[in-house]
Amino acid sequence: MTLFTRRSALPLLASAALAPTLARGRVLDLRAGGGFRPIEIAVTPFSGDETATLVTQVIQANFGRSVFLHPVEGLPNTPLDPDHAPDFDVYRVQGAQFVLTGRAQRSADGRLKTEFRLYDAAGGEQVAGQQFVTETGNARRVAHLVSDAVFTRLTGEKGFFDTRIVFVDETGPKDRRRKRLAIMDQDGANVRYLTRGEDLVVTPRFSPSSQDVTYMSFGADGEPKVLLMNIESSQREVVGNFPGMTFSPRFSPDGQKVVMSLSQGAETNLYTMDLRSRSTTRLTDTAAIDTSPCYSPDGSQIVFESDRGGSQQIYVMGAHGGDARRISFGGGRYSTPVWSPKGDYIAFTKQDKGNFAIGVMKTNGSDERILTEGFHNEGPTFAPNGLFLMFFREGAGASGAKIHMVDVFGRSEFPVPTPSWASDPAWGPLQD
């Protein structure tokens, strides 16, 4: 695999020279067996004032839902001094592979200073340590940043804890549902309502910058409008009136365009619109219904749902239109495809014999895997690290839907707490 150059020969020669002096052992192949087990991490109580307790709790809860890490239980309750290494035997006995210590304290100027140290319990060496300063009210956010730093250090993957979810909050009886746009932290905290609920809102989508959200709003006249809202300022603008639109547009990865589906008569086709010039380009031109488009993370392709072949299936085509190839071939109807931010998987909703399932498949359609099945599961959205999905589920006989989270391997599923019924989650990017 490597070119045999003089340079590459040097390590060969060097190792050959050393070989007689190194006692090499036999090489055995070890296959990972026994299924998946998460990394055990002991989250010790952070020392400091009362924010330390909150930070510790948030971190522990984060890891408990992380699937890849597992917080060791039954630890002593006393905070450790983060300036000294802990007694690792205590934690090794509990099965911990890593130990997290830290401190969260308000400083004299009223700001919150937080620091953590992560240790390898077997060797006792520190493997990570950082310090944060922020406003006092931001304690939860710091806990998420600590969680992300630890998650990344241990798995090599990007974290997902410092993210927010935009969703549709639903209240009231089924026939007179009040739907409001809402935003919350990924763990369900800090819920804030973005609209007042006079108009029906559906399918919010995050922009790549995490500052803007598009959604569809149905006014009194019933005509759908696409709106663009800035989360921080709550200012909105109308992107356009699009009669016949059923799904909200999705942003391109560079945030310059949106892709959407527009119906004309019996046909529904895909269009892109440049957000600055507002010029639209038509991407598909079939007699079928092409809808629910989503860009690939590099912006070069679009995955969408189409019934051009006779039933709802998933297709992939270039971002400028052109030939589309089908990638879904299992039995059933496929819809709502979304492309993973890692680029490796496409998640979808699949309907088969009355069952709704959320699944993933590789971008060429292979390795299809169902992650959850139930009465009504729909609308997957990827975490920014591509390892988790949120979706909404309406149980049989329930009066509304709730949001759930699952990992892309289908190992574990957790409910996401919301004040009331909730649907159409959209997972925002890591905040910086």
Binding site: A23, R24, G25, R26, V27, L28, D29, L30, R31, A32, G33, G34, G35, F36, R37, I39, F68, D83, H84, A85, D87, D89, Q97, R111, L112, K113, T114, E115, R117, D120, A122, G123, G124, E125, Q126, V127, A128, G129, Q130, Q131, F132, V133, T134, E135, N138, R141, V142, L145, A149, T152, R153, L154, T155, G156, E157, K342, D344, L387, Q431, D432
Partner: protein, 402 residues
């Protein structure tokens, strides 16, 4: 040309046919220099000549003998030797070296290695952590004094507008971690024993494999075990893998007599390194001699037994090796090298032979090392013990379950 030829034959050499190209420097070879290019035949002549000369000159060289066990020289202090040979008043009759039947005889001649006792760390609980090799030096320097608190995380710049607490650059990991309790314990033990290698000994003192434990005999057995294990830790090939426990005893008295003493050079060796001496090679050699095997070869390791040892190892460590956490990590196969002591405990730290800089692969490599650590020690079935050389060093390719 002809002039040249005649000139070269001017001196009293056996007359040879004149050759125009004859080389002045090598008249005897002229006979071979028929061709216009004398180089090849000349070279052939010289080589053959040398070979013939060598054949005759070297024919009385000794032939190589079979490889022999190196006779170890265990150097001990005069006083210690006297104590050894003095024996014990209340001890049982020392049995001849050859007799290895009974186990309890092993312990007899060793009582006087009392100073070794000092060097044997009674198991201090906090000492058990495995150090990575690079850390040992740091651990060394910190031992005597109580290092102050782990230097507080460098308070890095904060900056940032409100909503975004900016993570500071990671605090540089410190090399030493002052755990007060641990320091005290180490301080008193470490002084006679500077080398950072004590890990295997520390682990094994509490669990000597052989059951015999006549009360005062305890220490010597442990010492012997330490000696044996530390010796095998350093010995490479050529070591006999005979039953180590049995070997302890026979080595005793007779062997010591064969040792040389150089009083000048032994003192520091004994005082500092007794528990780790390589000298115990002698035990193996003598035990082999006692067994009557002239060349001291290890018992034969059949392919079948190799397979069994491998399967056992794979099954044991496989329990701690988990499926990849993410999809990227599946392509990368960490290769971990680790060494075991005779009792199956980790000797030193496992080593990743193919580390990667990519974040997910690096995490996967760490998990591989952690898996080996987590599943250590590996219990060694008795039938594998003689083949220590085979399983002393192992490399594991830690793959996905595909």
């Amino acid at each position: 040309m002809a002039d040249v030829a005649r000139r070269s034959f001017a001196h009293p050499d056996p007359p040879l046919p004149a050759r125009p190209e004859a080389d002045d420097a090598a008249p005897p070879l002229a006979v071979a220099l028929k061709s216009p290019r004398p180089g090849l035949p000349l070279s052939a002549i010289v080589h053959v000549g040398l070979a013939v000369v060598a054949l005759f000159l070297l024919k009385d060289g000794r032939k190589f003998e079979d490889a022999q066990e190196a006779i170890p020289v265990e150097v001990i202090a005069d006083g210690a030797f006297k104590q050894i040979t003095r024996g014990e008043r209340t001890g049982k009759q020392a049995k001849p070296r050859v007799d290895r039947v009974s186990d309890e005889t092993e312990t007899k001649p060793h009582p006087p290695l009392a100073e070794a006792k000092k060097d044997v760390p009674t198991p201090p609980p906090p000492l058990k952590r495995l150090k990575d090799p690079g850390e040992d030096d740091a651990a060394q320097e910190k031992k005597p004094q109580r290092v102050a608190a782990l230097p507080p995380a460098r308070p890095k710049a904060e900056q940032k507008p409100e909503p975004k607490p900016r993570p500071a650059p990671p605090v540089r990991p410190k090399t030493s971690f002052p755990n007060p309790e641990r320091e005290e314990v180490e301080a008193e033990i470490v002084r006679p024993k500077p080398p950072p290698k004590p890990k295997p000994e520390a682990k094994e003192t509490p669990t000597p494999p052989k059951p015999e434990k006549p009360k005062p005999r305890l220490k010597p057995t442990e010492v012997a075990k330490l000696l044996r294990d530390s010796k095998t830790a350093e010995a490479a090939e050529g070591d006999v893998a005979d039953k180590p426990q049995k070997a302890v005893k026979p080595k005793s008295g007779a062997e010591s007599q064969r040792h040389k003493f150089d009083a000048a050079s032994i003192s520091d060796m004994l005082s500092h390194e007794a528990p780790q001496r390589r000298a115990s090679r002698g035990r193996e050699a003598s035990s082999e001699a006692a067994a009557g095997a002239p060349t001291g070869a290890a018992p034969k390791l059949s392919t079948l037994l190799q397979g069994r040892i491998d399967a056992y190892t794979i099954e044991h460590y496989g329990r701690c090796w988990r499926a990849a956490l993410s999809l990227n990590a599946m392509r990368y196969v960490p290769r971990v090298e680790f060494r075991l002591t005779r009792s199956g405990a980790l000797e030193g730290a496992p080593r990743l032979l193919n580390p990667s800089n990519e974040a997910v692969e690096r995490a996967r490599g760490e998990q591989a090392l952690a898996a080996v650590r987590r599943c250590s020690p590996m219990p060694i079935p008795p039938e594998f013990e003689p083949y220590f050389d085979y399983w002393h060093v192992t490399e594991l390719d830690m793959r996905e379950d595909m």
